[in-house]
């Protein structure tokens, strides 16, 4: 095979490198610098060393935002993984109408998140919302889902399961890759449906599960639009998530320096959790390549 010089390669990929420099590398560098300054957008950035990070340690709102985000991420990733796997398994059964249901499940992931958020504001409405109207039929007075500090974060976690369509598709693709012969062999050996699922199918698709969990964690740690539109972080900061706190500092309080430092902590936490998930996956995920190919 013919080798081209690095010049040709760089020439073709040049658009990416220009964009990378302009919209990623330079901003990342600037953000690192701003993180060590006091910068209010009016006067020039004033270097203050690591004082921003010291301020975080004593900032109760920072800790609240961090805790809310970790709780949301842990719970929504766990819930969404179970829901998506269950839906993928159900929709792979030979049932009439499943293609329609598959499209229906995928639809919420396609529409603007702000539209989903406004729509669910109405479903969650304390008095006239569909959920509480439904509960009243069975004689239960539902809570003020988004206005009650005990319920608001859980309401957001719950509705996030409505938007799992993309994950369902990834699991579906993985399920279709499981060799039929493997499942049939297990059946001949006397494995019942539950055993086939737990001992054969799930280990086979574990790489897809690991990948999806990883993507979901990264997504969940950056959650922003849903709580911003639906609760504005309230009530009593119970849904104030990390990205919202960064955004407030940067664009509402005019504290670019502190916001940049906050963003870097978020980046570090994301990287650490991703690395942990990858390490865990290495140990636990069934290495299909070793046996099947």
């Amino acid at each position: 095979m013919r080798r081209d010089g690095a010049r040709v390669g760089l020439l073709f990929t040049a658009p990416f490198w220009i964009g990378f420099a302009l919209f990623t590398a330079v901003p990342v560098g600037l953000s690192l610098y701003y993180g060590t300054t006091d910068y209010d957008l009016v006067e020039a950035p004033l270097p203050i060393g690591l004082a921003n990070f010291g301020e975080m340690a004593g900032d109760a709102v920072f800790w609240t935002a961090l805790r809310n985000t970790l709780v949301f991420a842990a719970c929504s990733v766990a819930l969404n993984t179970v829901v998506a796997l269950a839906l993928a398994l159900l929709l792979e059964q030979r049932l009439r109408g499943r293609e329609f249901v598959r499209a229906l499940v995928f639809a919420p992931t396609l529409v603007p998140i702000s539209a989903v958020a406004v729509g669910w504001l109405w479903l969650f409405h304390r008095d006239e919302g569909l959920i509480n109207a439904g509960l009243r039929i069975v004689g239960v007075q539902g809570p003020d889902w988004l206005g009650d500090a005990r319920w608001a974060l859980w309401s957001l976690v719950g509705m996030s399961a409505w938007v799992v369509g993309a994950q369902v598709l990834v699991y579906t693709a993985a399920l279709r890759d499981v060799p039929r012969s493997l499942v049939e062999a297990a059946a001949i050996d006397g494995a019942n449906a539950r055993q086939r699922l737990l001992r054969v199918v799930l280990p086979q698709i574990s790489p897809a599960v690991a990948f999806n969990v990883l993507v979901s964690i990264i997504w969940a740690l950056q959650v922003f639009a849903l709580p911003l539109i639906m609760t504005r972080g309230g009530p009593q900061n119970t849904t104030l998530v990390y990205s919202m706190y960064v955004w407030q500092n940067a664009f509402q309080y005019g504290r670019m320096g502190y916001a940049s430092a906050l963003a870097w902590v978020q980046f570090a936490v994301t990287c650490a959790l991703t690395a942990a998930a990858v390490a865990l996956a290495r140990k636990r995920v069934y290495a299909r390549g070793a046996t099947a190919r």
Partner: protein, 302 residues
């Protein structure tokens, strides 16, 4: 399979269908309701709300007979949706235009630039290519919160804040996910095609334009669609980069309309929601295959 097991599965399927369809149906139903008398949730206790109101998906329009009902429903739709489109507090026709401009520019530029870059990673062999591709994928890891403040300041310094440009300009330089998708697709095209073109005296540009692009229409279409929807749906970008209300896209305009009316006229608000999501759902219905196939290639394979 035994019939009892099948019955259970069909019941489950029906439950799933209801759970996912109901929110949409409820939004449509509300958007066709004359006026939703909602007590302000700040007001006192349950007594203020009409608790006898049940779950009615067909709005009560006081009609006699199904034909009359259909006519009244159409009338109500004209009234509600017309009120949203002619609203004083939000210029929805303008938001439509802005969303279309951003989505088309962003998707077109993204497809073109990502194709060129993906060709450099799939068909040109050069030293350091794999390390360079790792950098491309690595950009997906950087949270938007790290980038948003410096990007805003950068655009401001360049005098580009105050228009739609910050929303589509970055697409002109390719995106990691699109480059990844197209590279995967290009790698799957037979090498013999290139070699035949090479014998015919084509250079890299010729191979790219005459061999690779014409054979990649489905992948290019998928990238275009995904980026179109991503740009149409983007909320954070417009929130950060747009300062003037006349530049708002639908995704942001809807949120502003909601916060300004702070949930008083839910029927109009739901009509606005439907107006925002309908174009995307139509695109989805038309190109369903391209969507589902492009997303499934994201799965872990080999």
């Amino acid at each position: 399979m035994r019939w009892s097991a099948r019955t259970v599965l069909y019941v489950l399927l029906a439950v799933v269908a209801c759970a996912w369809a109901t929110p949409f149906l409820w939004m449509v139903s509300t958007s066709l309701t004359p006026d939703v008398p909602v007590a302000n949730s700040a007001s006192d206790g349950a007594g203020s709300a009409d608790l006898s109101r049940g779950v009615e998906f067909l709005p009560d329009l006081g009609a006699d007979g199904p034909l009359d009902y259909a006519a009244r429903l159409a009338d109500q739709a004209r009234t509600n949706y017309g009120a949203v489109l002619a609203s004083d507090s939000a210029d929805f026709p303008r938001y439509y235009r802005n969303s279309l401009v951003v989505a088309f520019l962003s998707a077109g530029l993204m497809t073109l630039s990502s194709a060129v870059v993906a060709y450099g990673f799939a068909r040109v062999t050069w030293r350091g290519r794999d390390a360079a591709f790792a950098v491309v994928l690595g950009t997906m890891m950087v949270p938007f919160t790290v980038l948003m403040a410096p990007q805003y300041l950068l655009f401001e310094r360049l005098g580009l804040i105050g228009g739609l440009l910050p929303l589509w300009l970055p697409s002109a330089f390719g995106g990691a996910f699109s480059i990844f998708l197209l590279r995967q697709f290009f790698l799957g095209l037979p090498r013999a095609l290139d070699e035949a073109a090479l014998v015919d005296g084509c250079g890299h540009l010729g191979i790219f334009a005459r061999v690779i692009l014409p054979n990649s229409v489905p992948a290019l279409a998928a990238v275009f669609l995904l980026q179109f929807v991503a740009a149409w749906n983007d909320f954070v970008g417009p929130l950060v980069f747009l300062n003037h209300q006349e530049d708002y896209t639908l995704a942001l305009g809807l949120q502003m309309y909601q916060s300004q009316n702070s949930g008083t006229q839910w029927n109009l608000l739901m009509a606005a929601v439907i107006l925002t999501i309908l174009p995307v759902l139509l695109v989805f219905a038309l190109f369903q295959r391209a969507f589902t196939e492009s997303v499934t290639t994201r799965g872990v394979k080999g």
